[in-house]
């Protein structure tokens, strides 16, 4: 009994510094400018105001950034899922000569080991040369490449967990591979596919370096870039920036909760962060 108490005490000691900063940014986003940096700090008693949220949506173009982040993440995720699931199925189920499945899988994974700063240099020049700088399309394409290895490795694992006998029975009955994939295998890996989709959304949503370099105008900028541009300025509107921060982290929390069961597997393959 006493040991249990110690465990709880330690856990609370870990939770406090973990959650306090998050709580603080939420309160700053709801405090009027006078209350934000009062000494001593106002922990609980302050008059809540929605002015900063109104500010980011109606005065500053954060609605636009939110939309850009959403569109880029959603389209990139969709494309990466289609391309990646197809490739993963082939790697898991269609053995090629000379162990090519293995070689290809590792080459695909190895592309993730390259630090982004290495690839962004040439990619910036390429994107600029084809005239796609400051377009959402460029960012979508780059994010497809960014999330594809992740999708392939996640889905390959899920496909390998499906007993091959199930498909083979269908194949024996004269069904084609693709049909067996659609009717039998895909429904079985649907939860895994959903989790993979969620992690792709998070990767794209959180990404900063590529977005910083490829999108510099207000109309195509994503949320992290929009925030970054305003906190490196001389005078910072902390209420508005806190509101934007809350806006940027809330969807990720909800998504991650939905896919929590698969979080460990996802993280081992690079979910959340690219």
């Amino acid at each position: 009994m006493r040991r249990q108490a110690w465990v709880y005490l330690l856990l609370v000691a870990a939770l406090l510094p973990t959650l306090l900063p998050i709580y603080w940014v939420v309160t700053i986003s709801l405090k009027s400018v006078v209350d934000q940096f009062a000494v001593p700090p106002l922990w609980f008693r302050f008059a809540a105001t929605g002015e900063h949220y109104r500010d980011i949506f109606f005065v500053r173009p954060f609605g636009r950034y939110l939309w850009n982040s959403g569109v880029v993440a959603a389209v990139a995720t969709l494309l990466a899922l289609v391309l990646g699931t197809a490739a993963a199925y082939a790697l898991a189920r269609l053995p090629m000569k000379r162990n090519w499945n293995r070689h290809l899988s590792f080459w695909i994974l190895s592309t993730r080991m390259i630090p982004p700063i290495v690839t962004i240099l040439p990619l910036f020049l390429l994107v600029r040369d084809v005239g796609l700088l400051n377009t959402r399309l460029a960012l979508i394409v780059v994010y497809v490449g960014f999330t594809l290895p992740f999708v392939i490795w996640m889905m390959r694992g899920f496909f390998e967990e499906v007993p091959p006998e199930l498909e083979e029975a269908a194949l024996m009955d004269g069904s084609s591979r693709l049909r067996a994939l659609r009717d039998i295998v895909l429904p079985l890996v649907a939860p895994g596919l959903a989790a993979t989709a969620i992690f792709c959304l998070i990767i794209a949503w959180n990404e900063f370096l590529f977005a910083l370099i490829l999108t510099q105008t207000d109309t195509v900028m994503t949320l992290p870039v929009g925030i970054a541009g305003r906190v490196t300025q001389y005078e910072i509107k902390w209420g508005a920036m806190s509101a934007a921060g809350v806006l940027a982290m809330l969807p990720v929390f909800l998504f991650a909760l939905a896919a929590q069961r698969y979080l460990v597997r996802g993280l081992s393959l690079g979910a959340v962060k690219g």
């Binding site: 700053i28 940096f37 197809a86 982004p116």
Partner: protein
Amino acid sequence: MAETQESVHGELGRADRRLALLLLAPAVLVLFTLSAYPLFYSIRLSLTTPTGAWTPGHFQRIFSDRLFGTALLQTFLYTAGALALELALGLLLALLLNRSLAGRNLFRTLLLLPMLMPPVVAAVIWRLLYNPSFGLINGTLQSLGVDTSGLLWIAGQRTALASVILVDVWQWTPFMFLLLLAGLQSLPAEPYEAAQMDGATRWQVFRDITWPLLRPTVLVAVLLRLLDLLRVFDQIFILTEGGPGFATETASLYIYRNAFRFVNFHYGAALSFVLLAITTVVSLWLIRMLRGRTPAAERS
């Protein structure tokens, strides 16, 4: 089972191979265009002048670039400091939660939150906390009567690097914690039962059973964090932009600065290969360790 698979593939072999090619081609093409091709392009950049003539000059320049040396050194310090703290704290938390406990899932979920937010947002939050004149930390200290005039955190020449490391520890300890907890939960029960029969102390159990069995998980987690830490950019860009002065400049930031601020893509490309080489060497070393040690850990 292998036989049925063989026979099916025997019959459908050619059609299957064509299908495999069809399914793989788009993904491989995209990956090649977005990762292999840029790499080749970058090699060319790093070896040419802006007019297109070949030169080894950019790589020669790196050797006399003191600033890059400092940036690399700081990247290593950052990596080592953050990695050690994240591993220690993550392991502690994982051991703490690796038992039946009311509310365990809630604790686990809450402890994960920092890792899920965009690093940019984590950095914004910590600027709110660190600000020397109105931040939460100094504000609280002041209301307790502490003189905070010397406490500059990320704005102080000597405290900046430690302060940005702390932000990394805050955000990514959950990552270590979660992977290590999953590793702990998948350990076999038998050795523990045997140890209990022999009356081993808890420290002995940890040293002789848990740690050796957990080693592969630890190495994987360390490898993943290491890859991320060596390339760190986002948080530092928001927190300090490498400052004050040069105190928190890391390799990625320095490369970014050279390529995009000083618009010298050729030199930036050359610099970026140094980072790539370091990352590759370190991760290959860890992967070899992982391959070498896994069977040993399983045998014991």
